[in-house]
Point group: D2
Chain length 356, copies 4
């Protein structure tokens, strides 16, 4: 079942395909009275926008957002906010090969198995273009949680990781990789260039931190803050793994090593560590929330891969056209958006139940 809506009380619905006329999001449940205009959204879309460096797809999309409802005299009214982005650069192309054969690693075969056919132009609904709608919705979500500061960065490309000793948050915006370590960024330049020229692709990990989240957001079990974040991140195309705090490293630890001791602090407890990533028992502790995501390498590569046609016959396929050599790079603004969307929802849910 399709279910293109995410969230419980702050909810958004996205629609649109890679090569359709437009795509968009409807944001529902937004608090009234927030100052909102296109200028609050556009900077986030610009960060995610393709074609801004040679390290992303060369598709040229201005990704200009228009607000079609839910805002009056510059403020949100509390009614649904429709966000609309035109597709501009749907380059005419011969799709006959993709229409006939399944690209391994892509959604082609699974879509056909589910729906009986598919929109094969540029991946249709499974294209990373859909994430523009999330980023737009995420910009609205940020207005709901002004107390929270969210930053995501690429932590590693193809296994080449940053050093946290060289972490510089300012640096993230200075290079085309959302990389907080200037040295890593310059290494990645060569690395991604090589992959791009070879028609290959690289995986990446993206880490996101949200600070300023007060203690108390979340819930004990099926709406645990970590469960919601895991669903949100795993809903991003190409994400194959999610960690909260120490994540898989926690499975290597002992109880002593994994404890986050507390001391009296000026303003609530002072934690001596944050193995838990800011969440205990599904509820925020007031520490920064840490989420790490694994992006697989783009499946679109120039090397021919064995596959089958729709009729079930053996063939080979190479994916020509415009693609991200490392889709994880542009994943950083998308991860930020999903973090904002989950936290906005959880803030309102917490307020619903407790009045705080």
């Amino acid at each position: 079942m399709s279910y293109n809506t995410f969230g419980r009380v702050f909810r958004f619905t996205t629609w649109g395909e890679s090569h359709g006329p437009a795509l968009g999001a409807v944001v529902d449940g937004c608090p009234p009275g927030l100052a909102l205009s296109e200028a609050d959204i556009q900077p986030f879309l610009d960060k995610r926008r393709p074609g801004t460096s040679r390290f992303t797809t060369q598709r040229q999309e201005p990704d200009q957002v228009r607000i079609l409802s839910g805002v009056f005299e510059g403020r949100t009214t509390g009614t649904p906010i429709a966000l609309h982005i035109d597709n501009v650069d749907q380059r005419s192309k011969d799709y006959s090969e993709v229409a006939q054969a399944y690209r391994p690693g892509h959604a082609d075969y699974a879509y056909d198995a589910k729906y009986g056919f598919r929109d094969y132009r540029g991946g249709g609904r499974s294209s990373a273009r859909e994430t523009a709608a999330r980023v737009a919705a995420g910009a609205v979500a940020r207005l709901v949680i002004p107390e929270v500061k969210i930053a995501a960065w690429v932590e590693a490309i193809g296994g080449d990781a940053i050093f946290y000793s060289r972490f510089d948050e300012e640096e993230i915006a200075r290079n085309p990789f959302f990389c907080p370590d200037a040295q890593a960024a310059s290494r990645w330049e060569r690395k991604v260039d090589e992959a791009r020229k070879a028609g290959s692709s690289l995986g990446a990990t993206v880490t996101c931190q949200a600070s300023g989240v007060p203690a108390g957001w979340g819930a004990p079990l099926y709406a645990k803050l970590d469960s919601e974040l895991a669903a949100a991140m795993m809903s991003i195309n190409a994400v194959k793994g999610v960690e909260i705090g120490d994540g898989f490293a926690a499975a290597l630890a002992t109880g002593e090593g994994n404890a986050d001791p507390m001391r009296p602090g000026a303003d609530g407890p002072q934690f001596l560590a944050n193995h838990a990533g800011g969440i205990a028992g599904g509820i925020s502790t007031g520490q920064p929330i840490w989420v790490r995501t694994a992006f697989k390498p783009t499946s679109s590569i120039l090397t021919p891969v064995e596959t089958i046609t729709r009729e079930g016959e053996a063939t080979e396929i190479r994916t020509k056209g415009r693609h991200d050599p490392c889709v994880g790079i542009r994943g950083a603004p998308v991860v930020e958006a999903m973090m904002a969307l989950v936290l906005a929802d959880q803030k309102l849910l917490h307020r619903a139940q407790t009045g705080r």
Copy 2:
């Protein structure tokens, strides 16, 4: 907000605390006409049951399930199925220390921050006892997906991993660790014993495979099969990471290395690899589904840890009482249950939309 319900059309709601009189689940949306009695559920509860070896908590709970509604003349009626499990061994104990000071790594502080107070007896709602209700519900879910075979096993304890070359599915039921590698199981015996005697605890990873899932279950984005599985697994107490297929290893790969080439097969495509873990574009491909989860070490340890009291004063706490030295071990049946619950829901959702 609480939200103790999981699922979209096959849904279950759990209730109950560690030291309350009982706990249970209500399963809603179950197809009618399925043969169901307590005997279909009890074996799964028995696998998860505490007190069966020295490697788990010594709390003695028979975990006898009763079906209170939704079954008539041995078959499901299509109306809600109430599952009821009495708590038997709520040993009387002095909780004054836990009531006054926050156990680091536990949900104590977060619950107080959210709700203003908490049921401190044995962890209340955040106790792993809640998972008995899920396992009972999961047993019902299995009846909805007879075509699927689900198996979960512990893959590593404290970083000591099995060898897949020695994988023997039969072995899983033969040792108290749900371990498919007999040599690893014997190593773990010593390892967990040491931790137990030292009053320490160990993390673990649990892997789950579901085979027999036909191609087509799932959805493109926010109800992606992998997104649902991530939410389900991360909703289990102590889980801090989730991977689908290669997971974080995919972030190290190139597009060539990560491809799952296809050849014509007798019955749909034959895949030459399964890096994707049986899911592409959020939809099952017909390959086995692989999910890996990271369980942190139990936070209850005998070593004193710095903490604060409810009044914000510095203190130390050691957690006495009955605890699992490695909560990941009993996580295996819970992971299986969550896999079954997600797949049953997705099967019905797929049927809703496509009629297949």
Copy 3:
């Protein structure tokens, strides 16, 4: 699809059949810290309880409620509240006739058509006994909205209506009909007795007023306060119509006649009329909320009615056994409960979005 859960953030799930061992409700999303014990719930169950006068079914059910979770030291914890009511008087009876032939007006045929079979003992899930679970949940909901006063009464039985000029709220609790007009109550005594002795049954209308609801609860469209109330009331067994404010009489009016003019008041506007029933544009106005419901006559009658067997052959059926001669009478406490459940949910939703 079953969907035995109602509500958006304050949610409840009911389970149980007429002749099963027990029935119950799980209330989720309740604010923490509310004082709650069985004594807060029992009085409402006692009002709905069968067998208290000769005007209701003679089934003897003590309807003793037990709280199995979600309350600690006398206060709600914010986690799910399990409410449990044992069935006591499932009189052994020969159901072979009901099992074989469909009772017209009952759910028998429809259930068989949907599920392929049914629990025919006393109506199974479609029995009015299910409403005990709602009434218990409704008692919890009342604690969430202490600012609201809810009263429901029977307005007419078999077309014999009260006079509002004789309306006396105190009177409602003094007679077995929840009738606010003493004269009507004494007429109904004879009327219902006649129907009962004749093995016939009577329809009724039940009206409910909620005062103290502040302006602002509800939403513009699909979660309109009136839409939620309509769904809630129509979900009660035997209800076939719902009106808000003037309801169908508004269809006879002109715009002038239907206006609710406003004047400045001490505390917000003073309304000169309440044709709207306290709701405009889906949102409460601060005036009392009025809802009217139509209960059909109990379908269980002694007069033989033409029907068919499960095998499709012609037959006749008379419904012996214990039945309410006018099921609308005991509908009054159920209507009150549904009003409370909707308003509690809407209060929390309003707080989620607006922080008020």
Copy 4:
């Protein structure tokens, strides 16, 4: 909380205000492979369109719908279908009076109370213009239930009702009142003209029948078919009452008079009456489904009405501008749309649970 989404598995979300640039709907969960183009939707919008006779508002809106996603090569893909309708005739007007004073009967005061302010241009979100989006979504829903035939008609205007002895379904499309009784239509012409000229308005009842619904759609309680229909109809602006089958007349009946006896029929049971309106125990019986709705008179009238300003001072208001003298007339296509939307959802839910 806003919740502008309706439905459980076949879901739609609407957005847009009376005087914004556009309005629309996103339809999610639609089965794949259905033939769909704008031409399947436009005729239903044309029926609802304003300005086609002097009996409706004179606002000129072409209501041209565009499909922006979810359709490929003329067939639905199973992904979300975005429907877009531009607003064209937002006549510039002085709204200062409406901005300052609350129109009695309108949502003005309630919106301000909830949100702190409101989009006062033409009623904003509370305008009947929103129903265009529902009608567009409803046209998609009809494709999901080709076995069902839906017809709605105006049954009475200002208390002047049709005679069912003169019911002619063909007649409905022949007059501007969706009236199946030619004589009533000619009476209404004069009646509505008088109201229009007097600057007054009239209430109406609209009845809808759905035939061809197989037995078995729906659910026992909170997702009862009648409960869903009641919510759907009551979500339409200006609706104040909903009846299923005999509705409030059932409250006047005896059990004998209200029975729907059955006889063996060629194809399932033959019912001798349909007091139940095609629904028993929340589940369809195979008989035609009957729903009746009450539309209040338009609150916009030329007669001055006492009211207050935003500052709480006494004033009077007359609503100038373009309005429907009887908003119930154009309610007929909207009621049809909501019927289709509920039934499509219920069909898929039934299929999910039972596989049929």
